[in-house]
């Protein structure tokens, strides 16, 4: 969604991963949050006490607003890189 300046930014190859049951793609090694942002997905989870959506906020691994789940483990989407076939779930509780 966000415009990229013309080359010379060269990125790694595109890989596929899934988030919350949907397929997405991104550059191998970029963070989950950034790969999703590129495709317009900024709602990463719901707030703990309300159904309000939350997304990446501090971008440095502190606020914990961006947490997602990989293999049942909570990870910061702003820090975890994507790789081919990675299955990412939304935090459910």
């Amino acid at each position: 969604m966000s415009k990229e300046p013309a080359p010379p930014i060269v990125r790694t190859e595109i890989v596929e991963f899934s988030f919350d049951g949907r397929k997405f793609s991104g550059h191998q090694g970029e963070t989950v949050a950034v790969a999703l942002l590129r495709q317009g997905i900024i709602q990463l989870r719901d707030a703990p006490n309300t159904p309000a959506a939350r997304g990446m906020f501090c971008v440095m691994g502190i606020c914990q607003e961006c947490v997602i789940e990989i293999n049942g483990k909570r990870k910061e989407a702003c820090r975890v890189p994507i790789s081919s076939g990675l299955i990412i779930d939304k935090v459910k509780y």
Partner: protein, 364 residues
């Protein structure tokens, strides 16, 4: 002399505050002196377990009464009666469990032994390694974080004077009362109650009382919200694990593992080499905890005398000087034993006996 206060209570934890409330009911003018904030000592940072299975045999009747007081308060202090299991992971522990729980049962706790099938049904996430378990339907927990809020509000409503950030540095006996001071600030009262939790030894020493007190520093940890992993309070035969999941999904893990520091030095610190086995044991009991993240570990102080029974009564060498502390399981027992203490100071016969601080302290 005309005293503004009939009694100065040093320490604004459960013991100090609840006694203050009783004494006020009984007509006394009370002042509570607290070095920090009301209910931010052990009373506000403990694990909140209200378990009969971890109470000492002789203290069981007190624990039952204390539990009933918290139960009546219900939501205000986050009370939940969930039942609780105590686990044994090998034959030696099973033996220990049997022996101990029988005695506790005789002392009045509603404890039974359960089959592993029953256990599995109720707590499917427990490890298969359990070899024996006991159960008490009365076990549960409350939210100790709310202690400060609760007692502040009650003391406000009862019109009790309490002074925060008043660290008692000196106590002096006068001809007919006491001068309690914090630096320049002085409060005069006819009586003094020492209810200073883990700090008791040093405060008692200010008035010349040498009590054989040792401070302990317990560790508690909490996880972030997790899927449902347990519905009861989980304990361990040795007492080295208490664990429960709060309605919001967070899991609180305690068990009396020791941190570092002394009450004089500040709030104490978490020791890596006792935090890790504490968490290992928790994970051993509920393997699914593996994936859950710890968000905070902390410590709190409590005091013990060599026989691990409370100090609750009048100190022998001086008139009108009282002590209440060193209560093992004091979050559970606190509200009740404090009321007894209040009755005693008011000159009434307490419903159950207190624990004479001038006894000889043989190790239990």
């Amino acid at each position: 002399m005309n005293f503004k206060f009939d009694i100065a209570i040093i320490g604004g934890g459960i013991m100090g505050c609840e006694t203050a409330l009783r004494l006020t009911e009984g007509g006394m003018r009370v002042v509570v002196l607290e070095q920090g904030d009301i209910g931010q000592g052990a009373s506000g940072v403990n694990a909140g377990t209200l378990s009969m299975q971890i109470k000492r045999v002789k203290l069981m009747p007190y624990a039952i009464k204390g539990h009933a007081i918290w139960e009546k308060l219900g939501e205000i202090i986050g009370f939940h009666k969930t039942g609780g299991y105590t686990l044994a992971f090998n034959d030696r522990e099973a033996e220990l469990l049997k022996e101990r729980m029988m005695l506790k049962k005789e002392a009045g706790a509603n404890i039974s032994f359960v089959s592993l099938n029953q256990l599995k049904e109720k707590e499917p996430n427990l490890a298969n390694k359990v070899v024996a378990a006991s159960y008490c339907p009365d076990d549960g927990y409350a939210n100790s974080s709310l202690t400060g809020y609760y007692y502040r509000t009650r003391m406000e409503n009862a019109g009790i004077n309490y002074v925060e950030k008043f660290k008692v540095t000196n106590i002096r006996q006068t001809s007919d009362g006491y001068e309690v001071s914090s630096g320049e600030n002085l409060i005069i009262a006819k009586r003094v109650l020492l209810a200073c939790g883990g700090w008791m030894k040093d405060v008692a020493a200010m008035i010349g009382e040498e009590l054989p007190i040792r401070a302990r520093i317990n560790t508690v940890s909490v996880t972030e919200r997790a899927p449902k992993l347990m519905s009861t309070v989980i304990g361990h035969a040795t007492g080295l694990l208490t664990m429960k999941q709060k309605p919001n999904g967070t899991v609180l893990i305690g068990g009396g593992w020791q941190g570092k520091g002394t009450p004089e030095e500040g709030r104490g610190t978490v020791a890596t080499d006792s935090l890790i086995p504490n968490l290992q044991l928790a994970k051993y009991a509920v393997p699914k905890l593996s994936n859950v993240r710890i968000v905070r570990s902390w410590t709190g102080f409590e005091a013990n005398v060599p026989d691990f029974y409370p100090l609750a009564g009048a100190l022998p060498n001086k008139e009108n000087l009282y002590v209440l502390g060193c209560v093992r399981g004091g979050y559970t027992i606190g509200p009740y034993i404090s009321r007894l203490m209040g009755d005693f100071i008011l000159g009434e016969e307490p419903e159950m006996p207190l624990f004479d601080p001038s006894r000889s302290f043989e190790s239990a």
